[in-house]
């Protein structure tokens, strides 16, 4: 179940894409750090920080020396997922149109299928953003026995859902 969100209540949001675009250390050269837009399904991946920043600058408005960038749209980061415990390995950051609302409903869902199938059965740690709680499911379309809610940064999702996630709910 999902429900509409009062988009106007969200207003503007500033986005700094570097969250998903981790630094280009030697160990990270083979890692992949992707951003997926919940609404459009567009996915962009980066291997290095420089490449990520360059790409981010094309999409955002540079706004001063702090490297903060203001997104012209009302998107917010809703969750970041990692393939290793402790926020290591590859990462997938999902962003969408608004924060979650705490009313017992799943506001958004994201399937790790199709072009995102490479992320399926790989998630080991997760971070909820934008007041969202995260639910992990072993089947597409929020199917199967879930685990959650993950209300805070979670260094390990637990044995039950480790490397088993195929769809994600945001509530």
């Amino acid at each position: 179940m999902k429900k509409a969100l009062p988009y106007a209540a969200v207003g503007g949001a500033a986005l700094l894409l570097s969250t998903a675009l981790t630094s280009g250390t030697a160990a990270a050269e083979e890692e992949e750090h992707c951003i997926a837009n919940m609404d459009t399904g567009e996915q962009t991946c980066f291997a290095t920080l420089d490449a990520a920043i360059s790409a981010a600058e094309e999409e955002t408005e540079p706004s001063g020396p702090t490297t903060l960038s203001a997104q012209a749209q009302n998107d917010v980061i809703q969750g970041t997922f990692f393939t290793e415990r402790g926020y290591g390995g590859d990462s997938l950051t999902i962003w969408g149109e608004a924060p979650c609302v705490k009313d017992g409903w799943v506001d958004y869902e994201f399937n790790l299928t199709g072009d995102f199938s490479g992320w399926a059965n790989r998630i080991s740690s997760a971070q909820p953003w934008a007041d969202c709680w995260i639910w992990l499911y072993p089947e597409p379309d929020l199917g199967g026995s879930r685990d959650g809610p993950y209300k805070e940064n979670t260094t390990y999702v637990g044995d039950f859902m480790n490397n088993r996630t195929v769809s994600i709910g945001f509530s």
């Binding site: 700094l16 459009t40 001063g64 903060l68 997104q71 506001d107 007041d131």
Partner: protein, 209 residues
């Protein structure tokens, strides 16, 4: 775009999500993209838990440990005798944390406590803002040598992003993200003290012997 289409189909298949997007699109308020004034990272972090609905630090990646460049501590010792000498060097040294914003993490409120709590949960040990050490180190110097003691502290670097959610627009936006990186001393500082000797220069010999 293929990816977008694939995902959209997936969402549509779930039913209500499509309705959600359709309804909300019509309610979209114009973003204040033309807002020219932008707060600094320092301004934003000073508002963490001080006027925000929520302030969360999202760690990024594993902790990186490294050894800082060694530096001389205490005074050098000069062996002006014709025998090997065991010479004592008393020294004290303090290693402090630093971060990308320049605000102190030593305080126990606001962005500092948010960072330290997140750090401890993520990495399983406390963030150490400062490490102080003092001792007397014995340096063995041969005749005509100068001896020095060095310390190269073990450091740890954590990085991530603060997410600040405001009840009202702050500089035109309800949500701000602030990248943050902090480096500080590790709890274990074993093996960080070294010493070295070398022949005195003629100038050193003239000055100290």
């Amino acid at each position: 775009m293929t990816t977008a289409a694939a995902l959209r189909r997936t969402i549509l298949a779930c039913g209500s999500a499509a309705a959600a997007f359709a309804v909300t699109a019509g309610l979209a308020a114009p973003a204040h993209a033309d807002h020219e004034d932008t707060p600094t990272a320092r301004q934003l972090l000073e508002r963490c838990d001080n006027g925000t609905d929520a302030c969360v630090f999202h760690p990024e990646g594993p902790l990186r440990e490294h050894q800082a460049a060694r530096h001389v501590v205490g005074d050098p010792v000069y062996n002006c005798t014709d025998r090997e000498q065991w010479m004592s060097v008393s020294w004290a040294d303090t290693t402090s944390e630093s971060n990308s914003v320049g605000l102190s993490l030593a305080v126990e409120y606001g962005f500092a406590s948010v960072f330290k709590a997140s750090f401890e949960v993520t990495y399983g040990h406390e963030w150490k803002t400062e490490h102080s050490e003092s001792q007397t180190t014995t340096v063995i110097t041969a005749p005509g040598e100068v001896g020095r003691v060095y310390v190269g502290p073990k450091m740890q670097t954590a990085e991530g992003t603060y997410e600040l959610r405001f009840p009202d627009r702050y500089y035109g936006h309800y949500i701000w993200y602030v990248p943050f990186e902090a480096t500080g001393p590790t709890e274990d500082q074993s093996g960080t003290i070294t010493q070295s000797t070398r022949p005195m220069t003629s100038a050193e010999r003239a000055a100290h012997c």
